[in-house]
Symmetry: C2
Subunit: 410 residues, 2 copies
């Protein structure tokens, strides 16, 4: 992995061509954009230049909208057609001089927004290393949940607190055990165990109708693209509340999403083998075994007021290490008949390896006998997730700073 | 409780004045409606008659919209002003002869729709009788979750599978233990343990902004109104998947919502004392102790093809029996800073008493030594929830038929 340039320009080469939603002084209303290097291209303004009216089924103002919903819903063929036209327009024109000048702005002049409206957000549990590391930290015993190797288990997350990268997250108030879980007093106050979770997510494009089932092997048809997700977690609040209905407020202070949706087409060259199956996988969840995605993931933590160059690289992980892929997650989510709508977000849960420098969250370090590299997060610390594949294809960053809790004044 | 008339007309007297969204042959586009007796009144068409333009802050076309979102967001004062004008217009005019004729249709000519767009749906666990009955059924031991008396615990539910009353629910496919949980083979197929859950829900009106906290005692300001909810549950799918992240697909086949939003003002005369506190309640969750709502709840189950008159009254319960109120649920949901948006739905979880004829779901009957009145639901059975307060104030019905599972053909 080559070190990303400032601005992560190397993540956005000709082989990437991601989609997002941006605004700026010159473009005060958020509209659909793509990115090449450190340049943001406002797509509606280059529609004529790209002859997008010739793309079958593409509504004429689809990129003037404030979200990618309508474009995402069109399905893979439309996404491929637009991406290919963009690649042709940009090829051999690294300065983008052939495109209308007003349509292009440097990334540092552009404010990015959530790319889609998320109607449902499900966070799955895909990494066997994560669940085993976390189990050992919490119970001393290295085990996986009973259904882990049968299906990607998961919980529904909160949509109202999904944040675009760059938005601060406030340390939540809540109830938690003052000492040992189940044996100490329950107290109320700011969480003392704020954690990050390094995750990959996918955004639904063409919707899955109610009662429609989707095979994992065919799930690409419904995936608009991939993002990075930081599922901030208040471990103390979570520990008290989650028996037996799972996490709620412990996960609700904020969930940070990276701004650029990376298409399955950009990632096609980075397929990898999934870990060997521990048991037979049901047909609806089966794939070729080579559908994992080789995204090199990193977490950096920056102290309050420090330069990014002083960041501590906290963890290196890889999305190909997970037992379940997001295609399998999508198939599993659909099997009960709930349908998936355009913009729905599915995430992988924490992506970890087994090694101590491969823990995608801080909780995993609390294993007995493991010397934690640090405690939970402090106010003012900034957590940056990055993901890079190679050949100019990466995710950029997913970043947020933890703010101090606001007192309860009501 | 007087037996409701056919069509539940007695639930919708002058003291009720609920809000909903309806359409008909004469009104092909769904718009906002109210109901008096068995008459549905299309609100946009009586705006002039009611001089609604004099209501401060009310947009002129707010009732022409296909959801109540914009109206709900205005807050309690606007809701009260409109309700009062409706009551004055209807008082002493039981035939509604003073209203424009085209604005009124009989309920059996009107198709009802989901009243709001639900951005987040949280299902809480408010009934101590339910958790204790359910615990005894599953573990043989009568206990409550560790945090139950500290706060209303809950899980985020699926928004894409919220259904308006009358929509059939399809028995889901999924994975479950063939026999004893944890000790038998995991199999795949249609759920064999389909259950209903008798619940009360509230719809958020004026939004709660991110990081804003709300005291339970002040939560009415953010509650547009109340509905009945049937949180259909596949107990076998749920049992396998829910450790440790809580239920997901076991709850996703469908969640049925009643069409009429009953305002806090209509329910003001039906306040009741909450059960005695088992321990000190934190300030943010405290109320006067008399904020429970006395809604007499019933579940009826009708065999395939049978008349409603042959329904089995399965359970009688009451929302005032619950340990936590929905105002407390709203305060708890907000405390971590996630915000609540207009249209968000919070539900109580199963509302039960301790007696065998007071179980709000079938699972509770599986207690050792208790003779179950019946097994889990069969294909074609119809479940009807009703809720009635008195003096012409009720919820009508929340009804859905269980359909057979569709084979997996993909």
């Amino acid at each position: 992995m080559s070190a990303p340039l400032p601005g992560y320009g190397t993540h956005f080469g000709i082989n990437n061509i991601p989609f997002g939603v941006g605004s700026s002084n010159a473009h005060p209303h958020p509209t659909c954009v793509t990115r090449f290097g450190d340049s943001v291209i406002f797509l509606h303004e280059i529609s004529d230049r790209l002859k997008l009216s010739a793309v079958a089924g593409l509504p004429s103002n689809v990129f003037a909208e404030a979200s990618l919903d309508a474009f995402a819903a069109l399905g893979r063929q439309a996404h491929q057609a637009v991406r290919t036209r963009l690649q042709h327009a940009i090829a051999n024109d690294e300065t983008l001089s052939s495109l209308p000048k007003g349509a292009i702005e440097p990334i540092d002049q552009v404010k990015m927004h959530l790319p889609v409206n998320v109607g449902d957000f499900t966070d799955m549990s895909c990494s066997h290393h994560h669940v085993q590391n976390a189990s050992e930290a919490m119970t001393g015993k290295r085990s996986a949940p009973p259904a882990f190797f049968n299906m990607p288990i998961g919980y529904a997350g909160r949509c109202s607190s999904l944040d675009i990268s760059g938005t601060p997250v406030e340390r939540p108030l809540g109830q938690y055990w003052a000492g040992k879980p189940g044996e100490s007093e329950v107290v109320f106050g700011p969480s003392k165990k704020m954690d990050f979770e390094l995750e990959l997510g996918c955004v639904v494009g063409k919707p899955v109708s109610r009662k429609q089932r989707v095979l994992a092997s065919q799930a690409d048809e419904h995936i608009f693209g991939y993002v990075l997700v930081n599922d901030w977690s208040a471990r103390d609040i979570q520990a008290l509340e989650m028996i037996p209905l799972g996490p709620l407020n412990g996960k609700n202070a904020g969930t940070t999403v990276s701004p650029w949706v990376i298409t399955p087409d950009a990632l096609r060259g980075f397929k990898a083998a999934s870990p060997a199956r521990r048991q037979a996988t049901l047909p609806y969840l089966c794939d070729s075994g080579n559908e994992a995605i080789d995204v090199k993931l990193e977490v950096q933590v920056t102290r309050p007021g420090a330069e990014t160059s002083e960041s501590q690289t906290y963890c290196r992980s890889n999305s190909a290490w997970m037992y379940w892929t997001l295609k399998q997650c999508l198939a599993h989510q659909a099997i009960a008949g709930c349908g998936l709508r355009t913009g729905d977000l599915l995430a992988t849960g924490t992506v970890s390896g087994e090694g101590v420098d491969e823990h995608g969250c801080l909780l995993e370090h609390m294993r007995a006998g493991e010397k934690p590299p640090r405690g939970y997060l402090e106010d003012g610390e900034t957590v940056t997730l990055t993901g890079y594949c190679g050949d100019g294809v990466g995710f950029g960053e997913c970043v947020a700073t933890l703010e101090a809790a606001k007192e309860l004044d009501g």
